[in-house]
Amino acid sequence: MKLTDTKQDQYGRIKRIGGDTHFMNRITAIGVTEGTEFQTVRNDKRMPVLVYLRETLIAVNRSDAERIEVEIR
């Protein structure tokens, strides 16, 4: 499933990140990498997805979040 499909307070692991090198560099530099454990903190319609990982609260805009595949624990 995609990161955008997760619900509030669900825990999971990043499975695959798609997109071009530019995007992947950006997202991995901030701490989102394949295999990272995360918690979805907020996921409201038409709002960036808020995830908590590596002790950081990170907002990812929706179209980018669609490119992140996750599995729920």
Binding site: D9, I17, T21, H22, M24, N25, R26, I27, T28, A29, I30, G31, V32, T33, E34, G35, E37, Q39, V41, R42, D44, K45, R46, M47, P48, L50, Y52, L53, R54, E55, T56, L57, I58, A59, V60, N61, R62, S63, D64
Partner: protein
Amino acid sequence: MKNAIALLGQPNSGKSTVYNALTGSRQHVGNWPGKTVEKNDGYYTYKGTRYTVTDLPGSYGLSGNSDEEIITADFIKAGQADLTCILVDASQLERSMYMVAEFAAMDKPAVLLLNMMDVAKAQKKEIDHKLLEQRLGIPVLPFTAAESKGYDALKDLLASELENPHKLASAPELPEGSDVHGESEAKYRWIQSVLAGVTHSEQKKFELSKRDRRLLSPILGKFACFGTILVGFLVAMIICFPLMGIGSMIPQLLNVPIADLLNGWNVHPWLVSIFSIILPNTLYFCIAMAGFVFGVNLVFGYLEEIGFLARAAYQFDSLLSGLGLQGKAICPILMGFGCTIGGTCGTRVMDNWGQRMLAMAVVWAVPCASIWTIIPVISSMFFTPWQTMLVILGILLYVVLLMTIVSKVFGRTLSPESTRSGMIMELPPYHKPHWKHIAKEALLKAWDIFKRALRTVTLISLLFWAFSYSGSGNVADSLLYKVGTAIEPVTRVFGLGWRTFMGFLSSAFAKEAVLGVLNAVFVGEGTVLDATFRSAFNVATDNAVLGQAMSDVVSKAEALAFMCACTFNIPCVMALSTTFRESHSLKWTARIAAFYVCGALILSCIVYHIAALFL
């Protein structure tokens, strides 16, 4: 270069705080060769030795995602710094160590600053910095950038490391032929091995604080953000008001004495008017501008430091991504309703130059507070109160349309789809503000703007002066009149007679000048020169008389066209000069200025010809 230090760190690592604290006002802002990226370097002297400091631009890594990252990576690779001081956020050590992992490949001397120790301590995070030092092979200094007491220790460390530099003892082993994922995994593995036993971090359940639950909720949060920014803006105005007041006294105090003095020496009247009118007024404009920048930076520096701005960016991201911008642009845009200069400066929060330039162009579309003081006055000369409200509503609707047009016209080049970066940002935990530091930064910025503006505003003022100067004091003797009447057949196409066209021109200088200039050209009281430069403190315009005089010559359709043209013209000389200073691009500033002048005239043309059918 000897004793060259470079500062490297992710956003929110406190890099600019350290840079400002080290160099104070001994800073130089320029461009990186061939790039529009701002180059910040400065120096400080410690124990008799001079050290230069370069604030390296960039975002989260060194992998070349943007001009900024390429510049930073090249700078370090070329060995242009004798020592790189890397900053990491101690409260989020694992994540912010990514910069160190990226740096490791460069194999250059470095020291590591564990910044935000105060936050880490408040979160009860313990860090064994001695162990980290052993593992990394470079000195590690626990630090709190916003407190002044640690800086001597930092300067001592930098000095001794320049004498006897250390390089990182290990680097991530990147598997051969691997892609971004393989490499980043290797980097984080390296970070984890370095941090093992240094700090204890566990993934706990994260709970939003009560404040965040409100501030981040989709509807209530938007109102809360909007309200906070509005209040922040009012506070900024209250702070800068005294400074602006003092500034406005300068022309009043200096005008007559200087004129008397120079006349006593039999100086040519040209020079008298330059020294007694233009220069004191330029000084006033620049002080007012600096006062405003100070107030805005104080308030928004505070909002940024406590972590509010990141929340506002989250709230408005979806809305703004439609314009090719991202959430961070919300603040500059809202600030634009107060003053375009403030909004233009506020675009500093954007981390990509193209989007930043685009944000400035969009901010210009927002009508500033001065416009709201002139439009109702002019409108009420021609229209009933109800119609005036319609005019204002129309203007507001056009603002939205114009923003869309601007983003369409400039967005393709400034922020092309391929480099368009959506918002991926961290929402830092709420910090306690360090007031002393915020005030110091605001003062530095205000002083900086003041120095820079003085030159530009003087130059443009002189230009305007040359056009509006008339030896006899009669409008008809000025170059402006001659040119204005000569091109009236052309300006008529746009719905403007020569008088209203002059008002339009003055609206590019300063919106406050418009009423005074109208008074000069319609009623014949005072010269255009006086009206333009003295309007700010001498609003002796009798609106009833002006209204009578105007409505005799000007049709309702022309009035409507004129108001539209003024509102959407170049905001003012100061905004123009700030945009140039902030963007470092004369080409783009000129392009955007040309766009706004043409856009205002085209709008005026359309409005006039349609309105002429009905009114």
